[in-house]
Structures are given as structure tokens and as C-alpha cells.
């Protein structure tokens, strides 16, 4: 049963990655990327790495995404510009 959840999480991870790099709106891409980060933290839990999950939650949700948002806000929002 565990591998089913694992498989679903993996598929979700791949889906978020693909969505994040295909969206044209950069802010939306960054938001989806934060969801990718959260999924990654879940996989760390599945792999019995609580320290990494904590780090990924704090860094991925707190710091990296905000840095991306700041930069996108200060520069351009559409991908083609």
C-alpha cells in the first residue's frame, strides 16, 4: 500500500515540475514551484529524513519562493518579456 502513495506522490512531483516550467505567467510558475517544494518535503518524510523535511519546509516555503517572488515583482511577469 505504501508504494501506491509513493507512486502518487512521485507523479504529483513530476506534474508540478512540468506545470512549473510550462506556465507562461512567471508568478504562477513560482507559486507552483512552491508546491513542488512541499511535495519534496513529503518525499523526505517518506524516505525517513525528518531533518531534510524540516529544512525543505522552512527554506522552500519560506525563503526561496519569497526570493523568487521579489525578483519577479521587480522585473517582469510574463515569460516572453
Amino acid at each position: 500500500m505504501n508504494w501506491t502513495v509513493n507512486l502518487l506522490l512521485m507523479l504529483f512531483l513530476l506534474a508540478t515540475a512540468v506545470v512549473a516550467i510550462t506556465l507562461k505567467d512567471l508568478l504562477a510558475a513560482v507559486v507552483v514551484f512552491s508546491a513542488y517544494s512541499l511535495m519534496m518535503a513529503m518525499l523526505w518524510t517518506q524516505l525517513r529524513a525528518p531533518d531534510l523535511a524540516l529544512t525543505e519546509a522552512a527554506v522552500g516555503a519560506g525563503v526561496t519562493t519569497v526570493l523568487f517572488i521579489i525578483v519577479v515583482y521587480r522585473t517582469v511577469r510574463r515569460e516572453d518579456r
Binding site: L54, V59, V66, L67
Partner: protein
């Protein structure tokens, strides 16, 4: 054309990697080389040798402490790089683009942030100092501190934040993580043992244990405070827009 070329290259890389993982030991096996060569000692004796119930903390701070010193140097060099590229903000005078907006922050959001900030800080300190028996540790706590201060800055504006945490106070704190490691290392050298050794000779067994706990706590706090302040500084120098954009963009 370029896309086709890239796809071919990706296919080659993918096939190489898949070949490699096909030949690797199966994922969950207990007999693969990485679980039989070095690790049994870490798992079996890590608690008394490294002084931490959380073996990962033991590996990070004790067995591979030198790597962690490199890690804090990486984040310090990232700070230096960002400041060398973007320059530091001015105390109380720098504004972010959001501050200059006519739309003010919602009262509900400011109230919630103001009341939850102390809770988050408390939790961050708990995480920093609780890395020994449970998951957590300096860097994680630092990241939480950084994230909460970033939230505060976005909600209340850069001018308020830089008044509360001025650059002059942050500069010495940014090096705290490296200085913590180096000072603990030099203490070891002064006692005649090797760099980053935490069991000092010449003390009794109980005293040595206490000293080791103290030294590990100092390092954890150093990593946490330094890391948090470094994140804050990076965000501050990225968020400020007082050079050119304010004049031309925001009405």
C-alpha cells in the same frame, strides 16, 4: 533546430543515467555497500561518540563538522556575493516598491502577523536548540527566523524593518556562524587536540560531557543566528528599490 539538438543530448544523458541506475544496488536493500561499510559504526556508536541522539546532528556537527564549516562559508559567501552585486540598503531610508504603493496592507493581515511573530520566533529558538534529541537544528531554526522577518518586512515595509534591525547591527551577526565554528576549533587546538574535536583532554568524564554539550550548543546557535541574519540581509538588499525604479514606475 536547437531544440532538437538539446533533445538528443537529453536522450543521451538520460540513457546513460538510466544505465547507471540499472546497475546500482536495488533501492531498499540492506546489503548494499553504503550500508555495510561506514554506517554501522555511526548508527551503533553515534550516540555516545558524537553526543547526539539525532545521528544526523552527530554526523553534521561531529563526524563531518568540517563540511558544515564549509556549508556556513557557502552561505556567507552567498551573502557577500549578493551585497557585492546589489549593495546594502540604507538604514531607515530604503523603501521597497510595496511601501511606496498607495494600497495599504490589510488590517487583518498586519494584526495576525504582529501576533504570530513572537510565536514563530519562540518556535525557531526551540528548533535551534532542540536539534540534539529530535529533528531540527541551527540552520532550520535560522531559516524560520529569516522567513518570519521576511514576512514582517513585506507586511510592514522595509523602512520599519531596517529601523528595527539596522545594517550596523547585522554586519557582526552575519559572521557569527563561521566565528562559532572557528572559535570552537581553536579551543580544541589550544587544548592540544585536533581541530573541531569536542572532547577536551584534561577534564573529567562528566565535565567533558558538559563542555561538549555546551560547545555543540554554541555552534548550533551560531549557525542559526548567522543563517537567519544572512537570509534577512539578502532579502533586504534584494527588496529595496530606491535607486531608479521608484522614480519612473510607481506613481
Amino acid at each position: 533546430m536547437k531544440r532538437l539538438l538539446v533533445l538528443v543530448a537529453l536522450a543521451v544523458i538520460g540513457v546513460t543515467l538510466l544505465y547507471g541506475i540499472g546497475k546500482m544496488p536495488p533501492m531498499d536493500s540492506r546489503a548494499s555497500p553504503d550500508k555495510t561499510h561506514v554506517v554501522p559504526r555511526y548508527l551503533g556508536h553515534g550516540e555516545e561518540e558524537a553526543g547526539a541522539k539525532n545521528i544526523i546532528t552527530g554526523v553534521i556537527l561531529n563526524y563531518r563538522g568540517y563540511d558544515t564549516m564549509g556549508e556556513v562559508s557557502v552561505i556567507f559567501s552567498a551573502l557577500c556575493a549578493v551585497i557585492a552585486i546589489l549593495d546594502r540598503e540604507k538604514k531607515g531610508r530604503s523603501r521597497s516598491g510595496v511601501d511606496a504603493s498607495r494600497v495599504r496592507t490589510s488590517l487583518i493581515v498586519t494584526t495576525v502577523v504582529r501576533f504570530s511573530l513572537p510565536v514563530v520566533m519562540l518556535f525557531a529558538v526551540y528548533t535551534m536548540l532542540h536539534g540534539e534529541p529530535s529533528p531540527g537544528g541551527g540552520f532550520q531554526g535560522g531559516a524560520i527566523v529569516g522567513a518570519s522577518i521576511i514576512l514582517f518586512t513585506i507586511v510592514f515595509g522595509l523602512a520599519v524593518s531596517t529601523k528595527r534591525i539596522p545594517p550596523g547591527a547585522r554586519v557582526p551577526m552575519e559572521s557569527v556562524n563561521m566565528l562559532g565554528f572557528l572559535s570552537m576549533g581553536f579551543i580544541g587546538l589550544a587544548f592540544g587536540v585536533q581541530f573541531l574535536t569536542y572532547i577536551l583532554p584534561g577534564l573529567g568524564v562528566a565535565a567533558a560531557e558538559t563542555v561538549r554539550k555546551l560547545m555543540l550548543d554554541v555552534i548550533e546557535l551560531g549557525i542559526g543566528i548567522g543563517g537567519g541574519i544572512i537570509f534577512i540581509s539578502i532579502v533586504f538588499s534584494m527588496i529595496r528599490e530606491d535607486r531608479y525604479e521608484l522614480q519612473q514606475d510607481v506613481p
